[in-house]
Amino acid sequence: MRPPSPSIPEKEFLFSSLKQSLRLDGRLPLEQRTPQLTFGSDLGYVECGLGKTRVLAQVEARMVKPTPERPFEGIVTIHSEISPMASPEYETLGRASEEEVIITRMLDKVLRRSDVLDKESLCIIAGQRVWHLRLTIHCLADAGNMLDCACLAGIVALKHFRRPDVEVTGEEVTVHPASERAPIPLAMNHTPFCFTFAFFPDLETAPVLDPNQLEQRLSAGLMSVALNAQKELCVVQKFGGVPLAMDEILRLIDVAVERAKELNKLVEGRLQEDWKTRGRNVELI
């Protein structure tokens, strides 16, 4: 059952405070919640938290036969599981709701279709054996802006993952376990990050970055921008909602450019920290 919509006093309180550029969690309008990245013991297992929103991403690699149309390319699939566990708004039965469709499609666009992975590097023997990467995204809790959280979790999981080294002699493929040879990171072209802005029905209210659940539900439109730290936009998506002036949209994209640079630094830092702790463990073995 869908939870009841926010009450009128709640709505008025939020709108009047947003008008004074105040947010319920004390952030500035264009401030993001700091992402919390927790790495699991396996490579490619990442839990990402934005406030109380939590998403778990996991990558696994298997060897398969490639499709006949693309014999030189590996396969990447994304499985996103949005269950009522995240929020009672998502239902298990029947057709996926519009929000779910949009989240799944956006993940697909950001993580697969924007050429994040070099698929040809996943080829082992042309037409015979390629790597099949399976990225599973579990949405654990939705406290607003699950899309950004899921994209971040997905991209960090891909960066964190390492596939076992393989050796090809003629038609023979030998897979070296991690204890024999150091596993290899995936060849990635770039790292896009997704940023969502929420707009409100009153045009004087400034748009907010990274809306929390209440802001998201009371918003009159969302715009998601995915881009990398090199100022390349990968996906821009504003489906309806409040009409905006062109300059306003371009201004928000500039904000996203700055945030992408900051986020890139944070992610790289966290990955390196994690890698240092792992290096020690490997030596101990």
């Binding site: 519009e98 936009l233 504003k238 309806g240 909602g241």
Partner: protein
């Protein structure tokens, strides 16, 4: 295969003989379709979409009615013969569901839904031919069909696709061009110049994006002029037809 086709040649012509900023041939047919309250068939070059609008009417499902405004229901179906490769897409396809959700959320703030509480407006989009610019054709067709059905809108919604080949911006892409260059779809409200929809799915530098984004905004105004002309022509025909029927003149009326 696609890379063998020259997107923009040295003479400044595209693969179908157009210039960089030239739009494709736009044909609008607003004639009546069976029992629909409003209908439009729009053709952008070789992309053709047929849209029928029913309503405002009572919702089929009671649960879908909203007490303060009309509910908008959008269904998109893609004909199996619309693409080069014959493929049947079922209605549960994610791409089609997304298209329908996009159309719905684009028109929700544009249609004055609060005038029709407890009712439903159905929009059925049938894609007949696809040659690039599918979203643009769907949105333009829906605007025309809604206007034709006499549903109050706050403004027209005019959508255009733009792309960038190397550094050269282009408008209204065909399928070949869409497969090869980064492209952006923009829908504008011509009266205020504001943007309701922006989508882009390929990698593009921020500055290039800005250029094409502004250009597409301008192109929306050209499309708007076409819309106005088509709707005015249609209304003139209808008014003419009303006057042309057998009528009793004033003197005859006096005799009765």
């Amino acid at each position: 295969m696609a890379s063998r086709i020259e997107i923009l040649n040295d003479g400044g012509f595209r693969s179908d003989g157009r210039r960089q900023y030239e739009l494709r041939d736009l044909a609008i047919d607003l004639s009546q379709q069976a029992s629909a309250d409003g209908a439009a068939t729009i053709t952008h070059g070789l992309t053709q979409v047929m849209v029928s609008v029913f309503g405002p009417r009572e919702a089929k499902m009671r649960s879908q009615t909203m007490h303060d405004r009309a509910n908008i229901n959008v269904e998109v179906s893609v004909a199996a013969f619309s693409t080069g490769e014959r493929r049947k897409r079922n209605r549960g396809d994610k791409r089609i569901l997304e298209l329908a959700a996009t159309i719905k959320s684009t028109f929700e703030p544009v249609i004055q839904t609060s005038l029709y509480p407890r009712s439903q407006i159905d929009i059925f989009v049938q894609v007949l031919e696809q040659d690039g610019g599918l979203l643009q054709a769907c949105i333009n067709g829906t605007t025309l069909a809604l206007a034709n059905a006499g549903i109050p809108l706050i403004d027209f919604v005019c959508a255009v696709t733009g792309g960038v080949h190397l550094t050269a911006p282009m408008l209204d892409l065909t399928l070949i061009e869409e497969n090869d260059v980064p492209h952006v779809s923009v829908a504008v409200l011509p009266k205020t110049g504001k943007v309701t929809l922006v989508t882009m799915e390929t990698r593009l530098h921020v500055e290039r994006f800005e250029e094409i984004f502004r250009l597409a905004g301008q192109a929306g105004k050209v499309i708007h002029a076409e819309f106005k002309r088509a709707l005015r022509d249609r209304t003139t025909t209808l008014v003419g037809a009303m006057g042309a029927g057998p009528r009793i003149s004033a003197e005859e009326e006096m005799e009765y």
